[in-house]
Amino acid sequence: MSTQAVRQPLYVVPKRSLYVRTRDFLEQERVLGYLLIIPAVVLLAVLVAYPFLWGVYLSLQDKVVGRPGSYAGLQNFGALLGEGIFLQTLKNSLIYTVTAVGAKVVLGTWLALIIHRGIRRGRHFVRGAILLPFIVPTALSTLAWWWMFESLYSVINWTIIHLGLATEGPNWLGDPFYAKISVIIVNLWRGLPFFAITILAGLVSIPLELYDAAKVDGAGPINTFRHVTLPLLKPVLAIVILFSTIFTLADFNIVFLLTRGGPVNSTHVFATLANQIGLVAGKIGQGAAITLFLFPILVVVVVLQLYFIRKEEY
């Protein structure tokens, strides 16, 4: 038997196992990137994008629950714009959003300034207490407000009467004017913490040197606020206002529980009307059309938000 010279390689590259090869393939940035984002994309495609498109489709149908609908073009939108109740809802939504957001901005800034300038001891407590309305379920706290506005046993009216401010309190939920005030108060109550705490964070981030400089230049508190605080607060304010506008406009809970849109539709907003027409009365197509009126506003808000965020980033 002759010995055959076997040429041994100096260094053996081990054959990579299938496991390692698969792993290395999956670990590439562009592969892993897609893999990790798939769940989010599937979720949002199936349960956000698809329902949205389905909503657009529904709004173009004269569909009523239990009956197949047929294509109706823009009939739903046209019908809505010709109806008193919808025009009333448009008006209510506008009043509700503008007043509530306006009040939240002004009072939120005020509250943030108070906490920022004045509260040192007990700041943690104040901040926590102020935030409470924002975190508890709105439906449940609205129940408490309902009870406080109750026509006969209202504690607010009891107080008004016993302080001698009036002989009888307003009929909070039964009078169209006061019903509007009521839903706005509750919205303000719930949304104020978000404004105050966010604006407070904005205030904290303003460098103290700027205030010192203003003081040296002889600026009083009002001028300091106008020329130092406000300009530096603008980006935060813009984002908070945009954010709140869309969610106030789309609000459902407060109006639904407090007034159900009444009295005589004086407090209906998009969400409650859509619920009543689309789901309670079963005119799905028209209900979908009502919610779609929110869409243009949403687009505007999104575009502006992206603009402000970009500006912050660069």
């Binding site: 670990e27 949002l44 949205f52 102020i130 789309a250």
Partner: protein
């Protein structure tokens, strides 16, 4: 000397008017509804509906627990509470998982379309449930999960996951990339580096996103109201507001007891994690 005390008093008076009085008014405004829930829930019915006595306190009978007993013994309240806890826990877990994955991917990995996906997720974060609830109710129906908690397991992540993703994206960006790279040089795979290096460092962000998801889920109303009609499957806010109100007679004592009990878990949760909450709240708005 005299002057300095004079100015001190004046300054204190100024602070009193400018700071303390408005602050107390704001606090009363924020907290009174909760106080009112507590007081009403512990009054006997005869006291609740008695206009002659001062309503702010308990009457002679003292605090009464009958409304709470009634709630637990003779209503579906305990069941709703369990449902709400289940829904909040499950949807938070789902959303956090999705959020960590997507947030890491979008903030750390370079691949084609990452920017567009990021923007898509930001947009869905701004979509209010009101825009979708009518068509979504039909989609849920077609999937066949109407009237079960599964309707909520599926629908809540649609607004929770974008939020978690957005918040965690910001958080991941603050963790230095070098840490991961070191781990990978030492032989970790990228996924191991994510699990062992990045995630432990991101715990504050994850806790924050989790708390927010839990809170939003616990308080959600519109989807729960629309997708679930079966009393036994209802969540707490819907159960309390629809099934505890019977006819024209409102049982305010019981309702306030339920409202308070539904608010307590969240208030407790956040009293422990206030700073996480605040940082998340402001990050969500400022970032």
């Amino acid at each position: 000397m005299k002057d300095s005390t004079y100015y001190k008093t004046q300054r204190f008076a100024g602070r009193f008017v400018a700071i303390y009085i408005p602050c107390v008014i704001f606090l009363v405004f924020a907290l009174f509804p909760f106080y009112w829930m507590l007081i009403t829930s512990m009054k006997a019915d005869t006291e609740i509906y008695n206009l002659d006595t001062t309503p702010y306190f308990w009457g002679k009978a003292g605090p009464v627990l009958s409304h709470y007993v009634q709630l637990f013994a003779h209503s579906e309240f305990p069941l709703w509470m369990v449902n709400s806890l289940t829904v909040a826990a499950v949807t938070t877990a789902i959303s956090l998982t999705i959020g960590v994955m997507a947030g890491y991917s979008l903030s750390r990995l370079r691949f084609f379309g990452a920017k567009a996906f990021g923007m898509g997720i930001f947009i869905t974060y701004l979509v209010p449930p009101t825009l979708l609830f009518i068509p979504l109710s039909q989609v849920i129906n077609r999937i066949g999960v109407t009237d079960s908690l599964w309707a909520l397991f599926l629908s809540y992540p649609t607004f929770l996951a974008p939020f978690c993703t957005w918040l965690l994206m910001g958080y991941f960006k603050t963790i230095p990339k070098e840490l991961e790279e070191c781990a990978m040089i030492d032989g970790c795979t990228r996924v191991q580096a994510l699990l062992r290096i990045v995630l432990p460092l991101a715990i504050p962000g994850i806790v924050c996103a989790g708390l927010f998801s839990f809170t939003l889920s616990w308080g959600e109303f519109l989807y729960a109201l629309t997708f679930i009609l079966d009393t036994e499957q209802k969540t707490l806010p819907v159960g309390v507001t629809s099934d505890l109100i019977r006819g024209d007679v409102y049982y305010w004592g019981g309702l306030m007891a339920a409202a308070l009990l539904g608010s307590v878990p969240i208030a407790l949760l956040y009293s422990f994690f206030l700073d996480y909450f605040v940082s998340g709240l402001t990050a969500g708005a400022i970032k």
